[in-house]
């Protein structure tokens, strides 16, 4: 008599694979974080910034872009369109957003960096995108952004574009 194959083990496979589907979410995020795919930018503490070597010789152009997700009722623009930066040095700039509605709103900015290979070298110590932004009716806000370009940025990258998409997240909260 052949040894019987247990069917119970078979039922485990779909259960494990259902879990694997969910496991792909953190795997995907970690993978994108490490590779900088999807333009996901990094976060850095001020202590870490001090350890970076400043490369005064090199000038990199950082461009600022703003996108409003469909129907988001804001005016949303960068204060300056671009700036020349030295890798390793900390810079500050602002984005300005105005709530166009007569009621309080909550928004969330999501950053993205192009080209993708620069994303891993673009770090922020402070960013309005770290938190949801509360707006009173018709309120205008200057939202700060403090960033540093890592000196390890590949040599062939001379322009980095930082784009923020602003989302209306009221429905998420209510």
């Amino acid at each position: 008599m052949r040894k019987r194959f247990s069917i119970r083990h078979l039922f485990l496979i779909p259960v494990v694979m259902f879990g694997f589907g969910y496991l792909m979410v953190p795997i995907y995020n970690v993978f994108c974080d490490i590779t900088g795919l999807n333009g996901k930018t990094g976060r850095i503490s001020s202590q870490q910034v001090e350890q970076l070597d400043i490369d005064e010789q090199r000038q990199v152009k950082v461009e600022f872009d703003s996108v409003l997700n469909r129907q988001a009722p804001w005016d949303f623009d960068p204060e300056v369109n671009s700036m020349m930066v030295s890798p390793g040095k900390t810079y500050q700039t602002n984005y300005i957003a105005t709530n166009q509605l007569d009621k309080a709103m909550v928004g969330q900015a999501v950053p993205s960096v192009a080209p993708a290979k620069a994303a891993a070298y673009f770090n922020k110590t402070e960013c309005f995108c770290f938190n949801r932004q509360q707006f009173e009716a018709n309120e205008q806000k200057r939202m700060p952004l403090v960033f540093v370009v890592d000196p390890g940025l590949p040599e062939d990258v001379s322009t980095v574009t930082l784009s923020y998409t602003f989302f209306d997240v009221n429905s998420k909260i209510n």
Partner: protein, 528 residues
């Protein structure tokens, strides 16, 4: 009732036919009954999905919006795909497996007969849920069968119905697959070693593993979508830190093995049929088995070739391009083996053989266009055009579906005890083959010229080829009515079939009577 009494009753039951009346079909645990149910279900869904395709082709007969509004058109493209994949091809394969697999390995029935009944009867309810969305306010799902968010999250009340129906279909096919694995593992007749199993059994064995591995991943993806829409999670919502592209990765991690689920059993069917009508043993049996296993393995590492244009690093694109092209190697092994089987064989061209030959030739056309799509730089041009539509319809219609039809013709005399009308079968084959090419071949051209898929309107320069395709669609669709007529005729009577049915047929299923008794192989046969 104690256990002994149950056994006594069961023994008694074994020597009789099925209980009378329609209730038999609801409570049956007999693999032949359930196979029949699956096959009829699949045929009915084939006509429903086909009617949807004809709505699409009618609208596309002329540029501009003529017959249906764009929203309904999009519902048709979405549901046509879902019905054909989950309602036609997969149930047809499970139906063929139910009918033939126990007979081919010398088992008395499937290993888990009650679960078998359940996995069939979930299907009508799953599709009831899915098709009921057509009558809802806001209509059915219309974001394409791939359900990419954020677009699919704009679906109205249909979305939860669609998601629950996908859950049900997933449960059904997982149970069906487990049943098949259990049958093959435990119920093979003495002497039926793995490397003696018929290839249809082998391909289904591998397909069943693919099914239990990837259907749950799809269930997970649609569940994430459900919680995104109704419970405030943000798996695919960028505003909440999620990523819509991630859905595409999870979906195609399911989706690519799924396309092999839709073709591997057809490979098996053709590998049964060609040796029979060539009156030769299958050439390269073991290489066929290893090729099937390699295709199944590769299917897990090529998924992102469906999404070359989302923005991947060069290394990723190269990896997915080369692994995809690698699949051509085991597939080529199969095609050459089929051709070598026919080489110097004493061939005859009965209808099953004609469909199998049509499969080999036209599936290869679809395979080649797949190779073209595998090349990343070229894919940027072809992505989301009718070239892609032409490609996957070539592998699915004259591929998977022709394989199924060939299998039905091959075993129909065994199931019914009567030979089908050979002339009608040949007419069915030639009409199908001619019209399927009129239908899908022009799509290559409009695709290369840049016509996008899933669009109810198009530029006037595409009109001629679209009109040709629409004529082909109606021809192909109506030719399938012949198939229905032929099956009904064959069930009602005809020339009595012998046990062996075909002169060159070999295997356990041909040792039982035609039609087979309700219970076969109660004492298991011994394979030498």
């Amino acid at each position: 009732m104690n256990a002994q009494a149950t056994d006594l009753y069961h023994d008694d039951h074994d020597h009789h036919g099925p209980p009378p009346g329609l209730w038999r079909w609801v409570v049956t645990t007999n693999h032949k009954d359930i196979g029949t149910l699956y096959l009829w279900f699949s045929l009915i869904m084939f006509f429903i999905g086909g009617a949807m395709a004809l709505v699409i082709r009618t609208e596309l007969f002329q540029p501009g919006l003529q017959v249906v509004d764009p929203h309904f058109f999009n519902q048709m493209t979405t549901l046509h795909a879902l019905v054909m994949i989950f309602g036609v091809v997969m149930p047809a394969f499970v139906g063929l497996a139910n009918w033939m697999l126990p007979m081919m390995v010398g088992a008395p029935d499937m290993a888990l007969p009650r679960m078998n009944n359940w996995s069939f009867w979930i299907l009508p309810f799953g599709f009831g849920l899915m098709l009921s969305t057509l009558f809802m306010e806001g209509g059915g799902p219309s974001a394409g069968w791939t359900l990419y968010p954020p677009l699919s999250l704009q679906t109205g009340d249909a979305l939860p119905f669609l998601i629950f129906s996908i859950h049900l279909l997933g449960v059904s096919s997982i149970m069906g697959a487990i049943n098949i694995i259990a049958t093959i593992m435990n119920l093979r007749a003495p002497g039926m070693t793995f490397m003696k199993m018929p290839l249809f059994v082998w391909t289904w064995f591998i397909t069943a593993y693919l099914l239990i591995a990837v259907m749950p991943v799809l269930a997970g993806a649609v569940t994430m979508m459900l919680t995104d829409k109704y419970f405030g999670t943000s798996f695919f919502n960028a505003a909440g830190g999620g990523d819509p592209v991630m859905f595409q990765h999870i979906f195609w991690f399911f989706g690519h093995p799924e396309v092999y689920i839709l073709i591997l059993p057809s490979f098996g069917l053709v590998s049964e049929i060609i040796p029979t009508f060539s009156r030769k043993k299958l050439f390269g049996y073991s290489s066929m088995v290893y090729a099937t296993a390699s295709i199944a393995f590769l299917s897990f590492i090529v998924w992102a070739h469906h999404m070359f244009t989302v923005g991947m690093p060069l290394a990723g694109e190269l990896f997915f391009m080369f692994t995809t092209m690698l699949i051509a190697v085991p597939t080529g092994v199969k095609v050459f083996n089929w051709v070598s089987t026919m080489w110097k064989g004493a061939m005859t061209f009965e209808t099953p053989m004609l469909f199998a030959l049509g499969f080999v030739i036209m599936f290869t056309i679809g395979g080649f266009s797949g190779l073209m799509l595998a090349m990343t730089p070229i894919d940027f041009q072809y992505h989301d055009t009718y070239f892609v539509v032409a490609h996957f319809h070539y592998v699915l219609v004259p591929g998977a579906i022709f394989g199924i039809i060939a299998g039905v013709y091959y075993w129909l005399p065994k199931w019914t005890g009567n030979y089908y009308d050979e002339t009608l079968g040949k007419v069915h084959f030639w009409l199908s083959t001619i019209f399927v090419n009129i239908l899908f071949f022009p799509m290559h051209f409009v695709g290369l010229a840049g016509m996008p898929r899933r669009i109810p309107d198009y530029s006037v320069q595409f009109t001629d080829f679209n009109q040709i395709a629409t004529i082909g669609a109606f021809g192909f669709g109506f030719a399938q009515i012949l198939f229905l007529v032929l099956i009904v005729k064959c069930i009602r009577g005809g020339e009595k079939a012998t046990d062996q049915v075909w002169e060159g047929a070999e295997g356990l299923e041909w040792t039982v009577a035609s039609p087979p008794p309700y219970h076969t192989f109660s004492p298991q046969p011994i394979v030498k």
